[in-house]
Structure formats: structure tokens, C-alpha cells
Subunit: 215 residues, 4 copies
């Protein structure tokens, strides 16, 4: 199981570079090990070209290294906090993707003006607090914000987005779609004001997409 | 014939990723099977890396699965409606390409201020209604809008573009050129106002491009 | 010589896609055949994936096909006019690169506010007239505009840029650098006003770059 | 040692193209040869496809060619000046990356409104003077500006960024992260005003990142 998750998490990091969500060694993905108080996460400051399965590290849900030759991501404490407090979450992704981070820098939620936002995020994409790295502040900010929303994404002020999902793939999907809609709504606002979508239509779209889309 | 169309439609999906028109599994292309009430379309929610010919599905023109192991695209009903009501259309493409979708989100047609718009779209690129997924609303919105225009593209409000063509390749070409011109006109508007092209020049360009360009 | 130019021109087309200057089959590069009233140019409406040396066509300097299985680019008349009237020009490139075309759509020259513009273009990058395809109008607009400028690039109104050079490689280089500076100056203007460069500094930079840069 | 640095510097140039920081042959990276008054630098005007280790040149710290078949970069004098005056610098990178250069063209520092800016740059990213190529003006402008800042990056007016680091890899990292933050802050400003980060938080982030991040 852990070997499989190392492979999954390693491969999912390629989606971050494919979609231009990360630069250099920034950004990270983790997966909860089902049924255990463990997670698999990216090591700190390693090039995306070298992120094979063996480079991934295993920590407990307080971020203590359990297996792996490298130091875990500097955001490990935030991932761990999310897993401890949101039991349905099986994967977490973090990037500084440029359009989403620009909304975060202004502290503005992304308004639900696209069917894709209704589908995946179920409403406006919320802003989380400014939080310093080094203790549970970032994790607490993520969890407190996501608890009040259907959105799997939170825009942490002056920092960037964190996304969650039932597994690591779903968290990465949310990170990819987040940047897509952050960009499109940015463009829409540059030349005017996008039209709103009525709340009942947002509900219809969200329910359908969550239950009918895919295989 | 169907085997060939599976191959064609599969290959055309690569153009959507090549030009950055789609994220994750969003977007879809279909082709009418000439002389039959059938179409070949992308399956729902499958990664673009796995969209080989065998993954494509065949449905009738009401979206009922006829051949294929996977569920058809969630936009199948819209494609089917187009084929039922526009007999000259042999291909349909749908994306959420960012610049075109930004115009759609504001409900603004793209003005015909570039020779490339006159060539391919024959005038302003029109906006279609807001329509919910789940019945014929999207298909009807596409058909009603395209009937009043020379444009092979319609910007569905709060959603994104649909394009049509005599075959699937022409529909994908329209999707690619649409995003190109949506972006350029967006840029032009950001710093001022683009100059207009006289209607008679638009007609001249459209007629020539439709009849003389290419092999 | 012609075989070599077919190879050169074919390879240079890859730079247009590498830098995102063209979509689908739009854009074209040509090279004058030194010492002969001939040129090598891209065929019309052929995919960039299929632009090997054999696909290139040879025409005289009035655009009449001399060698090749395909119809020449629909912009052949404009290239031919340039070669007939500017004897020092050995290569021509044409794209609809998005930022340069946005300046063209507004009919605004790109101001010389970057050392790279001074280096390569020697001053502001000028705007040419609106001209319809089908006769010598485009060619004449290019030549008349370039004669009054050190710039190897002209922004044809509502259409896009044409660039020239002593050979095809130099023309493509100008097309690449043009889009680069069109984009950067666009960005600079979005949030304020770029500082100007004094005319004597522009001259210094231009002279040095044209004579000292490179091998 | 010099053979290794030729390899390192050659490989690092690929990061400039990977992240879209350079066009055509613009941009350059150099590395100081530890313990010697020498540096390894890119040749002038050579295509990025041909920048293998053998193409790199070795000069002394006044820019005089010591080893290599090609002429050194036209920015060699600036790199050499930096190495002579900043003994802790082991690598220098120069690009015209579009967002950073847009800030440079306006002569505006990039404000420290992102945790990534605090981490890597330790505060606002400063602007250097307008300086002509051909003597020590550019080098002096870089050194004078960097001496008053924790930032490894300086935005040279109307020109583009130079970055430094303890080795060439660190200088290239700074160039990559600079463009990333220049872009995100550009986006943030386009639709409003980003929130500031308190100076004590900037200090906390900078100290932690410089000491704890990575392996």
C-alpha cells in the first residue's frame, strides 16, 4: 500500500509541472495511508525532475519522519493538521499557482461565475487567514476555512492555495481546476463584470457533477 | 468508417491539450458518422493521456450508447442535439478555453476586429444563453445562436465555447482559432480600443478564406 | 541551394510554434533564393507537423509556382512584393502572434522603452495600413512602412506582424523578439507607464548590437 | 573543476528556456571558478539548442577570454564586475523575463506581498539604474543596488533582471522565482491591491527559509 502511494504521489507531482502550477521546487502533494496514522509526502527542496517514488517520504500525522532518506516538505505540518482534523480527506495539494495566488494576495474569494466553479467547488472559493509557517497556524487556517464551505480549495492570504480531496488525485484535480477558473475569472474581470449564476443553478450543477460525471 | 472516426477523434483531442484549451478531463470532440444516425465522442472524465481510439464511444443521435466500454461525455446530449438539428454539421468541439470563456462569462460577443476573425468566423462571435446541463437546453442554445450567424463558434454564457464544422477537424480548428482571437482581442482591449473593420471588408475576407485558402 | 533553403525554411517554421507565435496553419516564412528571382515559401493551410522540406514550394517573385506539389501560402503575393522592392531583404516572416497583433489591432506603434527594442528594432516598431489580401496592397503597405524605419518589423493594422531580415533566420528572429517585446511593453503599460530611453541611447544600443553582438 | 562547471552552466541554461525566461539567444548564466579569478559563461548569440558544455567559454574576471572557441556573452563585463566586487557571489544569471522586465521598464520595485517573496528575496525586489552596455555601468548598477538589499535580484531599468547566488544554481533559482513572483504580483495588482505582510513576518519567513528549507 505504501509502495503504491509513493508511486501515485510521485506521478501526481508531474501534473503540477504540466499545468504550470509550480516553479523550481515549490509546491507539494501528499496522500493519507488508509487505515493508518501515516501519510506519504514530497521531500523538501528537491527538483521535480528527481521526484521518483523512492524520493517520497512517509511521516506520521504529526509530521515526524517514519520512512525515507530525505527531509519531508516544509509544509508537512499543514498537511498533517488537515489529516488529523478532516477524516474524510485522503489527499492534500499545495501550490503557488499564479492566478489563484493573485486572488489570495488580495484576499478576495473567487466568485462562482462559471459552471466549472459550480461543478467542482460548489460556490465561491474561499480565502483563508494569513498564517506563518512553523506551527499549526497554516493547518488550522485551512481546516477552519474549508469547514464552512463545499469548496475543496482555500486561498491562503499572501501565500497560495491548498486543496483537498478524497484521495491525492482528487486534491491535485482541484488544484488544476482551481488555477483554470482563477485565470478565467481574472480575465473576465479585466474587461468588465462576469454575470452571476443563481444559487439554485449552482446547487443543481454541483449535485449533478459530484454524482454523475465520470466513469 | 467508425474505426477511422475513432482514430480521428482520438487524435484531434491532442490538439485541445497542445493549444492549452482544456484542463484535466474537461472538453470534448465528436464526429458524426456520415450516412448514419450515429456519432463518435469522448468518454466522460477520462484523462487526455488515455484517450486512444478504443476509449472513444459511439452513440446514436439521442446520446444512447451504441458501442464502447465507457460512459459517453456528459456533454453528449448537446452534441447530439446539434447533429439532429444542423444536418451540415459533421463535427462538434467543446472546451473551456480561458480567453473565450472569459468573454462568455461577461456575455459579450467577440467583435470582428481582426482579419483572422473575418476569415474564419465571418463577423462577431456570438453569445448563447445560460443553459443547465441535463436536458436539451445547451443543444438548443447552441443551435438557435449559430442559425443567426456565419460563425462556427458560440460562447455559451458562464460556461464556455462550442464550435462546429463540416467534420471534426474543422470544429477543432474553429476551437483553436477562437481561443487565439479571443486572446488577441482581449489584449487589444486591455490598453485601448481596437479599430473596426468595415462590413464589406469582412465579407471580402470571409468569402476569400472560405473558398481560396488551403490546398 | 534550393534544396538547402527548403530545409532551412522548414526548420525555421518550428520556431514559430516553439514560441507560440502561430495557431493551426496560420503564419509563414520565406527565403529569397540568392541570385535568382525565386523564393522558397510555406504551402497554404498545411499543418505545422507536416512542414518538412518537401512540402515547401518555390515560386517566382510574382508568386507563380515554379516547383512543388502544393499551393503556395495565401500570403505569397505579399512576400513576393517585399523581395521585388527591398533588394537587401533575404527572408520574410508573418505571424499573428497575440501581443504584437493586439498592438496592430489598436493601430499603435510599440514604443522603444526596452534595451531589447533599441538593440533589434532601433526605435519604435511602426504600424502599417489596413490592407486586403488578393493584390499588392499588403506588400505595398509593408514596404512603404519599413522604408521609413530601422525596424525589421511592421504591425499591419487589424492583421498582424510581418518581419524581414537579411535571410530567413533573421526574419524569424525578428518575429520572435517582436512578440517578446510586444508582450513585455504590454505588461508594463497595464500597471503604469514605462520610462523612455533617450534617442542617443537608442542609437548607441542599436549600433552596438547590430555590429558587436554574436559570433 | 572547470569541466564540471562547463557542464553545470550548460545544463542550467535549460532552466531559462523551460520557464520561458528567455527568447532566441538572449539571457545568460555564469559561474565563478572557486579559488581562481576565472568564470565560465555562455557564448554570445548562440542558440539555446547548441549550448552544450563545449560551447561555454572561460574568461578572467575582467572578461578576457581564457579558454573556448567562441566569443563570450555580450554581458560578460557585467558578470565580471559582480564577481570582482561581491566575493560571496558564485553565480550570476541575466534574463529579460517578461513580467520582471515590465516592472523594470516602469522602474517599480516588486513589493513584498507574498510569502515566496519574503522567503527568497527578504523584502521588496529593488530597481537598479538605467545603464548602457559597453563599460562597467551595468555591473556597477547591479552591485550598488544589491549591496543595499537582502534580495538576490535587481531589476535594471528598461533592461531586465540580474540575479546572483552562492553558485550558478542559486542564481538561476532566483531568476525563476523572480519571474514567478513578478507575474503573480502583476496579476494581483491588475484587479486591486494586494495586502501587505508586516516587516516582522517578512523577517521570520526569510530567516526560516534561508536556514531550514531543503535538504
Amino acid at each position: 500500500m505504501i509502495a503504491e502511494l509513493r508511486e501515485t504521489v510521485a506521478v501526481l507531482h508531474r501534473e503540477l509541472t504540466r499545468y504550470g502550477l509550480v516553479s523550481w521546487t515549490a509546491g507539494n502533494v501528499s496522500a493519507r495511508v488508509p487505515g493508518e496514522d501515516l501519510m506519504v509526502i514530497k521531500p523538501s527542496g528537491v527538483s521535480y525532475d528527481e521526484l521518483g517514488p523512492d524520493a517520497m517520504v512517509v511521516t506520521d500525522l504529526h509530521g515526524t519522519l517514519v520512512d525515507g532518506a530525505l527531509s519531508p516538505s516544509s509544509d508537512t505540518a499543514a498537511h498533517a493538521y488537515v489529516y488529523r482534523h478532516l477524516p474524510d480527506v485522503g489527499g492534500v495539494a499545495h501550490t503557488h499557482s499564479p492566478y489563484a495566488t493573485a486572488w489570495a494576495a488580495r484576499g478576495e474569494p473567487i466568485p462562482c461565475v462559471l459552471t466549472m466553479i459550480a461543478d467542482e467547488f460548489g460556490g465561491d472559493i474561499p480565502v483563508g487567514p494569513f498564517a506563518l509557517i512553523g506551527d499549526d497556524s497554516i493547518g488550522r487556517g485551512i481546516v477552519d476555512t474549508l469547514r464552512g464551505s463545499r469548496s475543496p480549495a482555500v486561498l491562503m492570504r499572501n501565500h497560495g492555495p491548498f486543496t483537498v480531496g478524497q484521495d491525492a488525485r482528487a486534491a491535485v484535480k482541484a488544484a488544476v481546476l482551481l488555477e483554470d477558473v482563477a485565470r478565467t475569472v481574472h480575465f473576465a474581470h479585466q474587461l468588465g463584470t462576469p454575470e452571476t449564476i443563481e444559487a439554485r443553478h449552482v446547487d443543481h450543477l454541483y449535485t449533478r457533477y459530484q454524482n454523475v460525471y465520470g466513469q
